[in-house]
């Protein structure tokens, strides 16, 4: 869907931000670009809608070299969401959402329906909030409007630059969950930039780790936590490994496979459920075992005891023995 080919970006006089950057983003996936500030992650993102053009190399979107496309046209077909301040303070909620559809020349009626549809989808009552100005909304509400605005013209690609960065931790976690849910209902390619490791493993189908303009690794969140690049592991990952494992490991390892009897207990887990999610469900439900379904066929069950054992195992591995790491 999106392909970076041999990208170099140098800002005058000779500050190199991207160095031989190659990456392919698949259709329908959420790719998180993770890195510290100054790693080049935002530059990489802005190459996609030509807010920045490369010094050398090519960017392809949907098979077309975008350097030959009209940037205005290109941008109208790519959603863009940044931290909440990106909303226009002089426009109401509905005016903010309507911008791109208006630029594309949609009819008033179609725009009107789309605004209602998006606001309902994001859990904001249109009758109550349409005419409000962004400053009269809470941070979480503003963020949702930002997402609604990025989705307004139903673009196949959505770029998000630390979209939840300005939210407090609780609202942030809730908004992340809501976005994941929303994402699962739509076929969109999302490129998501963050410096928050937890956000990266929660949001991403794959994580691209960047440092000093170079791409270090592209991996699924699970692979990323289990086999991080060694430099990164020493710096940061070590102390967080346990929590991250809970967020990325799925329950498949401690599942008892189907023995034929199928319980009718209501909360169903899936093979993709992470340990953390399973723990939360057990905490809320207070039952001994839960069924696992995949595509509505019964796969087995998870016993609370066994789950807790595995969590303890993970905890025992901490701290990791660093002497085996390559140095």
């Amino acid at each position: 869907m999106i392909r970076f080919k041999g990208i170099w970006k140098t800002f005058p006089p000779n500050h190199t931000v991207l160095e031989d950057f190659n990456l392919e983003i698949r259709e329908g996936e959420t790719l998180v670009i993770l890195g510290k500030s100054g790693s080049g992650k935002t530059t990489a993102l802005q190459l996609i809608n030509r807010l920045i053009d490369p010094t050398k190399g090519e960017v392809f979107v949907g098979g077309k070299n975008i350097l030959f496309l009209d940037p205005i046209e290109l941008r109208r077909n790519i959603g863009y969401a940044v931290q909440e301040i990106g909303l226009f303070p002089h426009m109401t909620v509905e005016e903010n959402i309507a911008i791109v559809p208006k630029l594309l020349g949609w009819g008033d009626k179609k725009i009107d329906q789309r605004i209602d549809q998006l606001m309902e989808m994001l859990g904001l009552d249109p009758a109550k909030y349409r005419k409000r100005y962004p400053l009269k909304l809470s941070g979480g509400q503003r963020q949702r409007i930002g997402v609604a605005r990025a989705l307004a013209a139903d673009p196949p690609i959505v770029l998000m630059d630390e979209p939840f960065g300005a939210l407090d931790p609780i609202t942030r976690e809730r908004t992340q969950k809501e976005f994941l849910e929303l994402k699962s209902k739509m076929k969109k390619t999302v490129v998501f930039v963050t410096h928050d490791l937890y956000e990266a493993v929660t949001m991403g189908d794959r994580i691209a780790l960047m440092d000093q303009g170079k791409l270090l690794q592209v991996a699924t969140p699970h692979m990323f936590v289990e086999n991080p690049p060694s430099a990164f592991e020493d710096d940061f990952l070590g102390q967080h490994r346990f929590q991250l494992s809970l967020l990325t490991k799925t329950i498949t390892e401690c599942m008892d496979p189907s023995i034929g009897k199928q319980s009718a207990i209501s909360p169903r887990l899936s093979p993709q459920t992470t340990l953390m999610e399973a723990l939360n469900i057990f905490r809320e439900e207070n039952i001994k075992a839960l069924p696992v379904f995949s595509n509505s066929s019964y796969r087995g069950e998870i016993r609370k005891e066994k789950l807790l054992d595995q969590v303890l195992d993970l905890l025992m591995q901490e701290p990791k023995n660093y002497e085996t790491a390559d140095r």
């Binding site: 205005i72 940044v82 002089h90 911008i99 791109v100 630029l103």
Partner: protein
């Protein structure tokens, strides 16, 4: 009265596009031009009027414009009104958050759309404040220009001064002062209206 508004209108027609141009161009022209207009502001009003009349008289051979009356008054008033409008347009546009402009670009707005939909609306409170300052100084200055025969309330004041009649002086001064205060309040209200919305 018309003189005030006409000169203000002309000043706006020059200063606002110029301010937009200066804010857009990243060159070194901006500080030079801004300092130049600021210099005009430092010339005493009376001196500027005299200067304009003298220059017009000197140019009379080439351009046969009237050297007294409305024209020199208009030129002086426009020159005076330029700076507040120009500098406020300029600073108003520069204070629009780069993040907001970046988003406007990213949504696929053309540079012109970014200017009219985003930059100008967001700098409107500051821009209107510039017009307000220009208007109040113009109303004050316009009485001075009656010295070169532009007429108006200034005539009453000058006559009153010559004949030492308090009544005449007040008849010119009070309406001028009230006008200035009135428009000051009106434009402050308009400016506040735009600020309150966001």
């Amino acid at each position: 009265m018309e003189l005030t508004f006409v000169s203000l209108l002309i000043a706006m027609l020059i200063a606002i596009p110029l301010g937009v141009f200066l804010a857009r161009s990243k060159g070194r022209a901006s500080p030079v031009i801004l300092r130049l207009t600021a210099m005009i502001q430092t010339i005493p009003g009376l001196a500027l009027i005299a200067l304009v009349v003298v220059v017009l008289a000197a140019l009379h051979v080439i351009f046969p414009f009237p050297t007294t009356g409305m024209l020199p008054a208009l030129i002086v008033l426009v020159l005076y009104a330029l700076l507040p409008i120009l500098s406020n347009t300029y600073t108003g546009l520069l204070q629009v958050s780069p993040n907001v402009k970046n988003v406007a670009n990213a949504m696929g707005m053309t540079p012109r759309q970014v200017l009219f939909y985003v930059e100008i609306p967001l700098s409107l409170p500051i821009l209107i404040n510039g017009v307000r300052i220009a208007m109040v100084t113009t109303i004050g200055m316009v009485t001075l220009t009656s010295l070169v025969g532009s007429g108006g309330l200034g005539d009453l004041i000058v006559q009153g001064l010559r004949t030492m009649q308090m009544g005449l002086v007040l008849a010119g001064t009070l309406p001028a002062a009230i006008l200035a205060i009135f428009f000051d309040i009106v434009l402050t209200k308009v400016g506040n209206h735009f600020t309150a919305e966001c």
